[in-house]
Subunit: 491 residues, 2 copies
C-alpha cells in the first residue's frame, strides 16, 4: 500500500477488531447460563471480527501516529465496532439492521435512546449485551483517546479535550498504560460495589449487574420500559434505597475519574476543591433547590411526601447533569413545572465533568466560557495594555484551547440545526420537538422527549442522522468532520 | 464633583436630553395638523428634557473619553431617553407607566413588540411618535457609537463592533462627523423615496410616512394590529406592489449603510462582493427556496397562487433576517411547515449585516465563527506550527475580536436562560414558549410568538426583564453588564 497513513489506520482498526471479538465472547457465558440458545449470534460476529482483525493487522511502523491519524482511528474505530456489535441484535430480534445499529451506537456512545420495546420479554443474553456495550463505551472512549495519544507521543490528547492541561498536570503516574489500568481498576471497583449493594437491596443478580453497567457508564439503558421507576412499581421493599444508591453511582460516573483516583489515594479534598467540582456540586444543590421550590409553588398542598419530592428531584437532576437518562419521574410530567423543565434542559446541555463517562458540552468548558465572558467585560475598563488571562484552577487557559471549545460549541449548534431540519422534513414532529431528538443524541443524553414507540416509528433517514449525531457528540464533534476532509487522509 | 468620570457621563447625558427635547417637538406638528389636542403631552416632557439637559451640561474636559465612559454613556443614554420618551404614551393613553416604557424601549431599540392594542383608534400624533422613535433608534444607536468613539479618539468603536476593522478600513471619509452626515443623508433619502412610492401605491400620506419610518429602521411597528397584512385585507388595489416595496426597503435597512454609500458613489459591485453581502443574498435565496419547497411538499395541490407563495415567503424571510418583524402571514400558521418554522427561527438568531439597523447576532459574526470552526478542523491535519489565521474579506481577524464575539454570544445565551426562567416563574407559559419572548426582545426581532393580548397580560416583572433584554440586545450585551460593574465607574 502506497499511503502509509491509510496502512497505519487499517492496522490500528485491526487491533480493535480483535479486541471486539474477545468482548463478544462474554455474552456467550450469559447465554449458556440462561440457556437461551443464542450462542451462535455472538460466536459468528466474534469469529468474523477476530479474523478480519488479524488479516488487517499489518506490521506497521508504529513509531509516529499523527494527530489526524489518531482522530481518524478514533472516529472510524467506533463506527466499525458498532457495525459488528449490532449483529447479535439483528440476528436475535425482529428489528431492521438500522434499528440494531441504532441501538448499538446508542449503547457504545452511552446515549441510551432505545428503539427496542418489550424489554422484559427479551432473552437475557441480549439484555446483557445491550448493557455491556454501554459499560465498555463508558470508559472506552476515554481510554481510546489516551492510548492513541501515547502511541503517537503527539499532542493528540490536547486535540480531544480542551482541558488537556488539567489532565496532563494531574496525570497520576507518568506511564499512560498505568493510568489506564488505574482508571479501569476504579471503574471495575465501583461497578462491583454497586452490584453488591443493589443485590443486597433486593434486585436479582442479573438486574444488579446490568443496571450497575449502565449507571457508572452514565448510559441509562434499563431492562425495563419504565426505567428505574420499575422498582417502585413492581413493589420492591427498598425501592427508596435503590433509587438513592443509583443517584450516588450516577454522580460517581459524572465525576472526572482522575478525581476519584486522588480521593482514593487520600486526597479527599479533591472532591470539592477544583473549580469543576465546585460547579458540579453547586449546580446540583442550586438547581435541585430551585426545582423543589418551583414544585411547591405549583402544588402548595403537596402531591406527594416531602421525601419523595426531594428524592425524585435529586434523581432527575443528577440523571440529567451526568447525562445518564434514567427516570423515576417523566420530566414532561406536571411534577416538574415550567422552570424545572427549563433547568433540566439547560443541565443536559452543560453535561458532567471532563474525564468522566458523561456527555454534553462538559462543565469545565462552560466555566471557561463564563470566565472569558467576565474577562471581556473587564477589558472595557482596564487599561488597554493590561494582560487579563483566563485562569482556571491557577492555570492560564491558552487561547488555542478557547478556540477549540468555541469550535466544539459551534459544531454542536450546526449539527442541531442540520439534524433538526432533517427531522422536520422526514417526520410529522412539531418544529421545536424536531430539535429535541438530535439534541438528545448529540449530548449522549437519552430518551427524554420522545416515547420509544415514536422513536421506533421515525424514518431511517432520521435514525441514521441520530446515529451520526450520537457518534459526533461522543467524539466531541471535530473527528466526525475530519473524516470528511480529504486533506486529513493524505500522507 | 470629585469623580471626573461621573461628571463627563452626566454632561454627555445632558447633551442627549437637549437633543431629545428638540425631537419631542416634532409630533407637536402632527398633533396640530390632526387637532387631537395633545400638544401638552409632548411639550411637558420636551421642556423637562431641555431644562434637565442644560442643567447637567457641565463644561467638562472633553479631551479624553475612556472606553468605559463611552459604554456607560451609551447604555445610560438610551435608558434615560426611554424614560422621558415614554411620558407622552403615559399621559395620552390608558396604560400603566411600565407599559408606556415598554413600548418606548421597544421603539428606540427597534424591537417592535407592542403592548398597545386597538391601534387604528389611537390619536394620530401618538402613532406618529411611536414610529418616529423607531426611526431615530434605527440609525441612532449606530451614530451614538460613532460619536462617542470620535470624541474620545479611543478604541471605543472597536469595543462595540467585532468587525471594527471592516468599518474602519472602509470608512468612506476620514472625518467621523462627515461619515455620520452621509449615513443620515442616505437614511433620510431612502425614507423619502419609500414615502413617495407608498403614497403613489395608494397609502395615505400618514401611513406612507410612518411605515417608511419603521421599514428602514427594521423596527416593525405598524399602525394596524394586522401589520402589513392590513393592506390586503382592507382591499388596497396595489397591495402586492406595496408588499414588494416593503420587502425591498426592509432589505435596504438590513444592509450595512457603508455599503449603500459605496454603491451610491458608483461601486455597485459592493452590493455582492463582500463576504457578508454574499451570505446575506445567499441565505435569502437559499432559505426562501427551501421554504417554498417545504410548502409545496406539505400542500402539493396549492393553497394559494404561486406568486402569493413566493411573495409571502420572501416577505417573511426578509422581515425575519433583517429583524423587522412585519408580517403578511403569521409564521405560526400552517402556511409555514415545520422546516420553514425552524429556518425562520434560525434566521432571527443570525440577524442582518453589521452597520445596518437590524438586530440579532449579525451575519458577519456567524461567518467569523464558521471560519474559526473550519480552521480548527484544519488544525488537526496541518503541521503543528502552521499559522492558520481566520481571514474575512482578505483581512485577518485578530484573536481579540473573536473573543469579543464569543463573549457576545455567551452573554446572549446567558440572558435568554435568565429571562426565560423569570418568564416561566411569573407566567403560565409553557417552558419552551417562555424562552421565545426574551429571545424576541434580545434579538430586537418583534412580536412573532406572542399575541399582543398575551404580551399585555404578562406580569410587570417579565415586562421589565424584556425591557432590559431589548436594551441589552441593541447595545450588544457588554455595556449592560458594564453598568453593573463597580470597577467601570471608578475614575
Ligand atoms: K445517557
Ligand atoms: K424589529
Amino acid at each position: 500500500m502506497k499511503n502509509s497513513k491509510l496502512k497505519t489506520i487499517i492496522s490500528l482498526l485491526g487491533s480493535l477488531l480483535v479486541l471486539l471479538g474477545v468482548v463478544l465472547l462474554i455474552p456467550i457465558i450469559v447465554s449458556l447460563i440462561y440457556q437461551d440458545d443464542l450462542v451462535r449470534i455472538y460466536l459468528i460476529p466474534a469469529i468474523f471480527s477476530v479474523v478480519m482483525g488479524l488479516l488487517t493487522r499489518f506490521k506497521s511502523r508504529e513509531d509516529e501516529i499523527s494527530p489526524s491519524t489518531g482522530m481518524l482511528v478514533c472516529a472510524l474505530g467506533w463506527i466499525v465496532i458498532s457495525i459488528i456489535g449490532a449483529i447479535p441484535f439483528y440476528l436475535a430480534l425482529d428489528y431492521s439492521y438500522i434499528d440494531a445499529l441504532f441501538e448499538t451506537v446508542s449503547g457504545f456512545t452511552t446515549t441510551g435512546i432505545t428503539v427496542f420495546s418489550g424489554l422484559s420479554q427479551m432473552p437475557k443474553s441480549i439484555l446483557f449485551w445491550r448493557c455491556l456495550i454501554q459499560w465498555f463505551g463508558g470508559l472506552g472512549f476515554l481510554t481510546f483517546f489516551l492510548v492513541v495519544t501515547f502511541r503517537g507521543q503527539s499532542g493528540l490528547f490536547q486535540l480531544f479535550t480542551a482541558e488537556s492541561h488539567k489532565i496532563n498536570m494531574s496525570r497520576p503516574v507518568p506511564n499512560i498504560f498505568k493510568t489506564i489500568k488505574i482508571l479501569w481498576g476504579i471503574y471495575i471497583g465501583f461497578t462491583l460495589i454497586e452490584i453488591v449493594i443493589l443485590k443486597v437491596l433486593g434486585l436479582s443478580f442479573f438486574d444488579a449487574l446490568t443496571h450497575s453497567f449502565t449507571t457508572l457508564s452514565t448510559g441509562g439503558f434499563s431492562n425495563y420500559d419504565q426505567s428505574i421507576a420499575h422498582f417502585k412499581q413492581a413493589g420492591y421493599t427498598y425501592y427508596r434505597a435503590i433509587e438513592y444508591v443509583i443517584i450516588l453511582f450516577m454522580a460517581l460516573g459524572g465525576i472526572n475519574f482522575l478525581v476519584h483516583y486522588k480521593v482514593l489515594t487520600g486526597k479527599l479534598s479533591e472532591l470539592w476543591e477544583g473549580i469543576e467540582m465546585k460547579y458540579f456540586w453547586g449546580i446540583i444543590i442550586g438547581v435541585s433547590t430551585l426545582i423543589i421550590l418551583d414544585h411547591y409553588i405549583e402544588f402548595p398542598f403537596a402531591l406527594v411526601e416531602f421525601e419523595e419530592v426531594i428524592r425524585k428531584t435529586l434523581f432527575q437532576v443528577i440523571s440529567v447533569i451526568t447525562t445518564t437518562g434514567y427516570a423515576t419521574e417523566d420530566i414532561n410530567s406536571v411534577f416538574f413545572p415550567a422552570l424545572a423543565k427549563q433547568l433540566l434542559l439547560i443541565l443536559m446541555l452543560v453535561g458532567g465533568c471532563v474525564g468522566s463517562t458523561s456527555g454534553g458540552i462538559k462543565l469545565i468548558r462552560v466555566v471557561i466560557l463564563n470566565k472569558l465572558f467576565k474577562r471581556e467585560i473587564k477589558k472595557v475598563y482596564y487599561p488597554e495594555r493590561a494582560v487579563l488571562p483566563v485562569v482556571v484552577d491557577e492555570n492560564v487557559i491558552p487561547d488555542t484551547e478557547i478556540f477549540r471549545i468555541v469550535a466544539l460549541v459551534f459544531g454542536w449548534i450546526l449539527l442541531i440545526v442540520i439534524g433538526g431540519g432533517i427531522t422536520a422534513i422526514f417526520s410529522d414532529l412539531e418544529p421545536w420537538n424536531a430539535f429535541s431528538g438530535i439534541f438528545s443524541a448529540l449530548g449522549n443524553i437519552g430518551p427524554f422527549y420522545f416515547s420509544v414507540a415514536k422513536m421506533q416509528s421515525l424514518s431511517d433517514v432520521i435514525k441514521v442522522t441520530y446515529i451520526i449525531g450520537m457518534l459526533a457528540g461522543r467524539l466531541e464533534i471535530l473527528p466526525i468532520f475530519v473524516i470528511f476532509n480529504r486533506g486529513a487522509w493524505r500522507d
